[in-house]
Amino acid sequence: MNDEATTPATSSDGGLAGSPLLTTQNVTKVFGGLVAVEDITFQIPERSIVSIIGPNGAGKTTFFNMLTGLYKPTYGRISFNGRNVTGRRPDLIMKDGVARTFQNIRLFATMSALENVMVGQNARMKAGLFGSIFHAPWVTREEKAVDQKARETLSYVGIPESQHEQLSVNLSYGDQRRLEIARALASDPKLLLLDEPTAGMNPQESASLTTFMRRLRDERGLTILLIEHDMQVVMGVSEHITVLDHGQQIAEGSPEEVRQNPRVVEAYLGTQGGKEAEAGAAQRGDGGQV
């Protein structure tokens, strides 16, 4: 269904077979005695949209936290854009071009929408202590450019100008989600990690976010890695899906392959869940076989 979107954007690389932007090898995270994520090996091709799905507690967010440097993998290797970033500091990984949003929105509450997005550009700015104190002409120009870009990014994600100076807490829930994406986009990332971006959204909002993700890939050449529970979004937008359960990678492949994988069905619905699964598929309205 997203052929028309994929082909022009990735034609130079030959569609899905684009060179991998991010690869992980045997990435494992152990907390005390608990293996939260075990042995995950996968790749994200450039300019693709890839999803990670799995039941709650499957280790999806832990995996995200390793990719963004918040956790250091116990074993394994992560490389981004040809560079080994295993255990690298989060701010440096952000500088390399990996930006993220959070499952439970983590905006800077007492800052305005604009300021939030300006913080997002921190890694792209040069003004240091003395630059900030003495305000050389280039610092003033930089501040102006950052302000300008923040406004553009806010408008790009669909937050109206009247809301730019609003405190982030005072924005509507949907706008807060959009603001988080804007804050991540402001750093011009190559890879965008979205942690359950449609959580708490109604179907219309989810649908428009799906369209927006494709736009990001096509217009900005972004690669997107998505954690998502909304199967309609996942199946609609992803080119590739990885399924985690109890920290293990139990399946991967195209949406079609994953949907038909019995282990996935088992993980989501338990072993006797055939009936509900069918009902679920019918509800989705895609008539897919489970």
Binding site: R89, D91, F102, A109, T110, G120, L129, G131
Partner: protein, 439 residues
């Protein structure tokens, strides 16, 4: 904001300034006919009132701040240069430098520092070493001097130019600030406070027992006896300062306050200022948005500490002594109380808090109310109770106005509306807060 609106705003601002410039001499002439102290107090009151009433209007706000600065500059000319008032005012300004420095650490970056006195001590010690006869062996007992005039240049010990000593004090305290910052990097909240408290106490103990710590035949400090005398401030093109003409001291302290204010304002509205707020609100999100935690925190410690060094070096010369008893834990709390009383993170609030508390400490308690207990038949001096009084003031503040005298916008939200890390969740909560804000 359209270009036209900005232009109009600029014009209004200029008008306010011009009006002030024209009106000031006229007002002063009229005022010279009446009591000056009363008049200056009245002007101060009007300015603060204007500032408070029109804080939304940028032009008036800036105008009043400029006028307050002008007020501070002309103030000593209406006072006897040897008077206790100028003496107390100079001390208050030096404390303001401390409070503005601590404000960077506590107010901007949100790192609770209970050992700020350590930077005062190190700044003072720098002056003690390089601006007195303390290092008696310097220059083979003849003394060594650098860019200072008579009589300091002929005395034994090391005598360096005051500005140079300030630079050294800034370097020393910045390094100390970074060093104290390092062990706290992995800590949060209360634990940072404990580490900094210990650091302040260590420096105090070192200064206290420094007379027994001999390195290369030289003691580190003079302990309780203090290093005294310390050279007077000696600025280029000016005669060395004297202890009976206090105006120059006042102006030097005021200049340091202006520098501290400038740095505070600039940092607040910069990339670094935003990074500090982000860090204070949510470390995880800040790091993920590209804010380097270590660097950003250490910059806060270093810059904040540097002002401790400046104030310390100045006070060593002004008070003419570097004495261990000055560097007790209570002084850290004293400076912190100024920041809290004025409004954590609020630059103008911190200045107000510092001036109010130091006048209560140096003027009201010892001079005005000191004999009140004896009047009601009690046998003690009020000065013995000064920290009890500060504590009482803080309790009252926390009950009535926890955000401080002049609250900082963000802190006010954090305190009054309980905002902060991870609060941007759910429509319901957001609505609740909006309602709270209206109520």
């Amino acid at each position: 904001m359209s270009a036209a609106a900005t232009a109009i705003r600029g014009r209004v601002e200029n008008r306010t300034l011009i009006a002030l410039l024209v009106a000031l001499p006229a007002i002063l002439w009229v005022a010279s006919e009446i009591d000056m102290d009363l008049f200056m107090a009245f002007v101060l009151w009007v300015l603060i009132a204007l500032r408070a009433l029109f804080h939304e209007n940028r032009a008036v706000a800036r105008g009043t701040i400029a006028a307050l600065a002008a007020w501070a500059i002309i103030l000593p000319f209406f006072q006897d240069p040897t008077a206790g008032f100028i003496e107390d005012a100079t001390l208050a300004l030096a404390y303001t430098v401390f409070a503005l420095g601590l404000n960077i650490i506590v107010g901007f970056a949100g790192l609770l520092d209970l050992g700020y006195v350590a930077f005062f001590a190190l700044g003072s010690l720098t002056a003690g070493w390089f601006m007195s006869g303390f290092v008696a062996s310097a220059g083979g007992g003849e003394g060594w001097s650098f860019l200072v005039g008579e009589p300091a240049s002929t005395l034994p010990g090391i005598h360096m130019n005051f500005l140079l000593v300030i630079v050294i004090a800034v370097i020393v305290t910045t390094i100390a600030g970074v060093l104290i910052g390092l062990p706290t990097l992995r800590l949060r909240g209360d634990y940072i406070a404990i580490v900094t408290l210990a650091f302040g106490e260590i420096i105090y103990r070192v200064v206290l027992n420094g007379d027994e710590l001999v390195i290369g035949g030289q003691e580190i400090t003079n302990g309780r006896q203090g290093i005294t005398p310390v050279d007077k401030v000696d600025l280029p093109f000016l005669a060395p300062f004297e202890s009976l003409e206090l105006r120059p001291w006042y102006f030097v302290a005021l200049a340091f306050v202006f520098i501290a204010l400038f740095v505070n304002y600039r940092l607040r509205d910069s990339r670094l200022g935003r990074a500090w707020i982000a860090l204070r609100e949510d470390e995880v999100a800040a790091a993920s948005m590209g804010v380097p935690l270590v660097r950003t925190k250490l910059l806060a410690y270093g810059t904040g500490a540097a002002f401790g060094g400046v104030g310390g070096a100045f006070l060593a010369s002004y008070l003419n002594t570097v004495n261990a008893d000055q560097f007790q834990f209570s002084f850290s709390i004293f400076v912190l109380a100024m920041v809290i009383l004025g409004g954590i993170g609020s630059i103008e609030g911190v200045v107000l808090g510092a001036i109010v508390l130091s006048f209560i400490n140096n003027n009201l308690i010892p001079d005005v109310f000191n004999d009140y207990p004896s009047k009601v038949g009690l046998d003690f001096d009020l000065t013995e109770l000064s920290f009890g009084i500060f504590g009482f003031l803080l309790v009252i503040m926390m009950v009535l106005r926890p955000e401080g005298l002049i609250p900082e916008r963000r802190r006010q939200m954090e305190l009054v509306q309980h905002l902060g890390a991870g609060t941007t969740t759910g429509v319901g909560e957001a609505e609740e807060r909006t309602i709270e804000a209206r109520a």
